[in-house]
């Protein structure tokens, strides 16, 4: 079958690629576009190592076809740090030793970011269920959950500061 030509946006950049219609988004990202931060742990949507966002929604890229992403927006781990600055989640994963081998880390960071974008004050249980689609075999999840909790607290304090600044400017 002829390759499909796809125009998409990845981490804010316009990207074009051609791929066979049966090729997964995961294979496209890793093998065609060199975005190997997206990991393959199972290829069946069970481990979450290949997590990316598609129009802001968390997906397993092994379960999406490359041909499906035309005109859509993809974010991968490679785009999480902005302007040379790590995202607070990335900082806290290092600080709290939330990774040992690190193979699951990109997927966890994507899943945690989607959680905090939607729910800035998650409970421990909410964090655990939001991350339940991502397998980690090294950490027992303890330090991952703590890193997400610490980030949530930090981001809330940052928001408070911002809104206080806004208020003081107004007054």
């Amino acid at each position: 079958m002829a390759a499909v030509l796809v125009s998409t946006t990845i981490n804010g950049d316009a990207v074009e690629f051609a791929c066979p219609p049966q090729e997964s988004l995961l294979a496209v990202l890793r093998d065609r576009l060199g975005l190997t931060g997206v990991k393959e742990g199972c290829g069946t949507g069970d481990c979450g190592a290949c997590s990316v966002t598609l129009d802001g929604r968390l997906v397993c890229s092994c379960l999406v076809l490359g041909a499906e992403v035309d005109g859509r927006e993809i974010a991968t781990i490679e785009g999480m740090a902005e302007n040379g600055k790590l995202h607070p989640l990335q900082e806290n994963f290092i600080e709290h030793a939330a990774l040992q081998c690190g193979i699951c880390t990109p997927g966890f960071l994507m899943a945690a970011k989607v959680l905090l974008d939607r729910n800035p004050q998650p409970t421990e249980t909410e964090i655990r269920y939001a991350l339940a689609g991502n397998l980690c075999r090294c950490t027992g999840y303890d330090k991952i959950v703590r890193a997400v909790q610490a980030t949530a607290t930090e981001l809330r304090q940052l928001e408070k500061k911002k809104s206080r600044r806004k208020k003081s400017k107004k007054s």
Partner: protein, 759 residues
């Protein structure tokens, strides 16, 4: 004495601080390169054809149609891998496991491999290879394999370790005995004797990164291998030997490793990938699918165990006995002379001080994948059996299980059940810490129960070689040959900083490829930080000698008058009061004119890695309707000797506990009557997910290892040993059923509850 490993009680400045790991940024940004993240120019895609049968004669493999397919560059069967092992049976088994030779020995055994221009073409080629099988009778259960009418897998395997030598081959390939005293006399003295049999199902290490490599062999006989491995030097020598290459001409680079836990200590696809490359004269990349990882890379043994413990009314254990039957897949255990049941037998009663003890390890072959090490290999299963029986003995005696353990705990001077006499050890301290822990006094609700259990692991030193190089700006490069699976670069950098007296940030640790260092044994036995750490201590001390020499040249004074303190060369004595101390950077800057580069090296075999003990406390809640068990609270208490980086030590303790929890409650290989694995995927082989677990509390104890300058013991493995029994004991205390079969899954617990209510 530069190379004295003795514990010195030296005051430590940076050891024990919780620094950021140097590879952290790479790993949170996706830049770190793992096994499947590397590509070579012109590389082909390698795929394997695997047997769908548990045991079959391979009558014919027709590759002609596949070879004709456009884009196929090489096809390999065992005929392309001549046996060069010259009577080395362990090597022959590795070769046969990599590619079936005349017989498929398990569901998933490789029978052919293809290299093609892309994955689609390789897949098509696999479909065009026609294999004619003649089915043979198979056996997958360890107890079934020992029955007199069981199919005998190998006609050349005769039981080792029994006199007289058997006259017939069998699946029982080794019997090992350990112990001391007289167990019969000991049981005769006992007021209470408890006997119980157990089974544990097969589990997989479950690393998230599948096996992956890129191999390239040139026509001139040189080659390169990029691979995810725990032991690139071992992979190098094994691959070179199997392929008839000079060891030094094969360069193996270990990628970042996405988990191993013992499963990446052995070669699986790598020799075949190199053979494909040699045949195609192109680099070949192969990545196992998750299904292949489950079907064809080494899980841990499934087991069947009998335990018998006798004790007096006051709780003194008078005798202990265990018989362990472990299957190792279709080949004898991976460590020559030390098969899996024998290792299990050695660990059986290692936590206790026993006058009379005997253990028997029966090692058995079956038609399942070749067993590999899995974190404290062989210990969790026997600990499940022994520590469950200990609770039963305590119940019979009316003693608290913790007190029974404290009364019989091994201590300094105890003769271990596997022979040696212990030096200072931590089992007593971990038990006392359990007693004092608030967890033991927390309230429990209905259907909840608390259990505890102990665990032991030997730890290992092994051949080690490391370099420490000082750049002209005073920054320091470490090159080590053990891999970093959980933060060891940080720990090793801390050690270099401690010895040299410089800030942690001035040091950068690298994992060297096989071209950059002498042989390093595989990173196993919790040896990474212990052994490479020791080598770094000695390498740093050697570098300090050089730094003093260079300072002597710079100052034109005798070296004897120079000491190294706080990262500086200092001249001793009032006559040198005009000499301002020289920093490491000052000396390094002058190195081009004082004798060239400054470095330290060490090659050694650090011994006495320091045995490790842990005690775990666990609360569970059992749902009597579903049989489901939830872990409510979990505490790990372990002796680390000295925690170099406490956060990463905690990580090891938590990770091992989580793996043990999965083993206890969910994980098992399920085989059909046809001998095929029915659940080779993460959906049906369910490892714990984030919502299954609570926070896992940790308490690090530090009882120094006398054979390490800082007192370090290995810390990576022991934490997987106690959970099975701790959870079994907790379930028993919650709902009154004694589980004797892991995983203690909902159907098994429901069945046990039904039996309890029926009786």
């Amino acid at each position: 004495m530069a190379n004295d490993p003795s514990y010195t009680k030296q005051k430590l400045k940076v050891i024990g601080s919780r620094v950021r790991r140097p590879d952290g940024v790479d790993k949170v940004t996706g830049r770190a390169k793992y096994g499947a993240d590397h590509n070579a120019p012109g590389q082909l895609v390698g795929l394997f054809l695997r047997s769908p049968h548990a045991h079959a004669r391979i009558k014919k493999i027709s590759t002609a149609r596949a070879e004709k397919l456009s884009g196929v560059k090489a096809i390999i069967t065992s005929e392309d891998l001549p046996d060069l092992t010259k009577g080395d049976t362990a090597a022959r088994d590795i070769l046969e496991n990599c590619m079936a030779r005349g017989r498929a020995l398990y569901d998933g055994h490789a029978v052919a491999a293809v290299a093609a221009v892309d994955e689609q073409t390789a897949r098509k080629a696999l479909k065009l290879i026609k294999v004619t099988y003649e089915l043979l009778p198979h056996v997958t259960d360890v107890d079934e394999a020992l029955k007199p009418d069981a199919p005998v897998i190998h006609d050349y395997l005769y039981t080792n370790g029994v006199e007289p030598r058997p006259t017939k081959p069998s699946n029982l390939y080794n019997v090992a005995e350990f112990g001391h005293g007289d167990v019969d006399a000991g049981f005769a003295q006992a007021d209470v004797v408890v006997e119980k049999s157990y089974k544990t199902e097969q589990v997989h290490q479950g690393y998230i990164e599948p096996h992956a490599c890129v191999g390239s062999v040139n026509p001139d006989g040189t080659g390169e291998l990029w691979v995810t491995t725990q032991g690139h030097f071992t992979y190098r020598s094994v691959c070179a030997n199997l392929l008839g290459m000079d060891i030094a001409k094969l360069k193996v680079t270990s990628s970042e490793i996405g988990g191993g836990f013992g499963g990446k200590t052995h070669v699986w696809i790598e020799p075949v990938v190199l053979a494909l490359s040699r045949k195609a004269n192109r680099p070949v990349k192969a990545v196992m699918s998750r299904e292949e990882v489950f079907r064809a890379s080494g899980p841990a043994s499934s087991t069947s165990i009998d335990v018998k413990i006798g004790a007096k009314k006051d709780g003194t254990i008078t005798a202990a006995f265990a018989a362990l039957r472990y299957q190792s897949g279709p080949f004898p255990g991976a460590i020559p002379g030390m098969p899996w049941a024998a290792i299990g037998a050695m660990t059986s009663f290692a936590c206790y001080n026993l006058a009379n003890v005997k253990t028997l390890g029966y090692d058995v072959v079956v038609n399942r994948p070749k067993v590999a090490a899995y974190r404290a290999p062989s210990a969790p299963m026997i600990a499940f059996a022994v520590e469950s029986t200990m609770d039963m003995v305590a119940k019979e005696l009316g003693i608290e299980p913790l007190d029974l353990r404290i009364k019989n705990a091994a201590r300094e001077g105890t003769r271990a059940c596997y022979g040696p006499v212990y030096g200072p050890i931590g089992i007593g301290a971990t038990l006392q810490a359990v007693k004092n822990h608030p967890h033991m006094r927390a309230r429990l609700k209905k259907n909840q129960g608390r259990g505890m259990a102990c665990g032991f692991w030997f730890n290992f030193g092994g051949q080690t070689c490391a370099d420490l190089n000082i750049a002209t700006d005073g920054s320091v490069t470490l090159t080590v040959g053990t891999i970093d699976v959980g933060g060891s670069r940080a720990s090793l950098s801390l050690i270099a900083a401690e010895e040299l007296g410089i800030p942690y940030k001035q040091v950068k640790a690298h994992i060297g490829d096989t071209g950059s260092l002498g042989h390093n044994d595989t990173t196993e036995g919790s040896r990474g930080t212990f052994s490479s750490g020791m080598a770094i201590v000695f390498a740093a001390r050697q570098a300090i000698e050089v730094l003093r020499e260079r300072a002597a040249i710079m100052w034109e004074i005798p070296i004897e008058d120079i000491i190294w303190k706080d990262g500086h060369a200092k001249a001793r004595g009032s006559k040198y009061s005009r000499l301002k101390p020289l920093s490491l950077a000052d000396i390094a800057a002058q190195s081009p004119s004082t004798g060239g580069p400054i470095a330290g090296h060490n090659e050694s075999v650090p011994d006495n890695a320091g045995v490790s003990f842990a005690s775990h406390i666990c609360d569970v809640e059992v749902d009597p309707e579903t049989g489901g068990t939830r872990i409510i609270r979990y505490t790990v208490i372990q002796d680390a000797g000295k925690a170099i980086h406490p956060t990463y030590v905690e990580g090891q303790m938590q990770g091992g506990a989580a793996q043990g929890i999965g083993w206890a409650l969910n994980e098992e290989y399920i085989y059909g009557d046809d001998g095929r694995l029915q659940n080779p995927g993460f959906l049906d082989y369910r490892i714990p997910v984030c919502s299954d677990l609570p926070f896992i509390d940790t308490q690090i104890l530090e009882i120094p290892n006398p054979n390490h300058p800082y007192g370090v013991r290995g810390v990576g493995e022991t934490s997987i040993v106690p959970p099975l029994a701790a959870i079994g004991n907790a379930i028993s205390n919650a709902v009154g059923v004694r589980m004797d079969h892991t995983p203690m899954s909902p159907p098994r617990i429901l069945k046990a509850l039904e039996q309890l209510h029926a009786s």
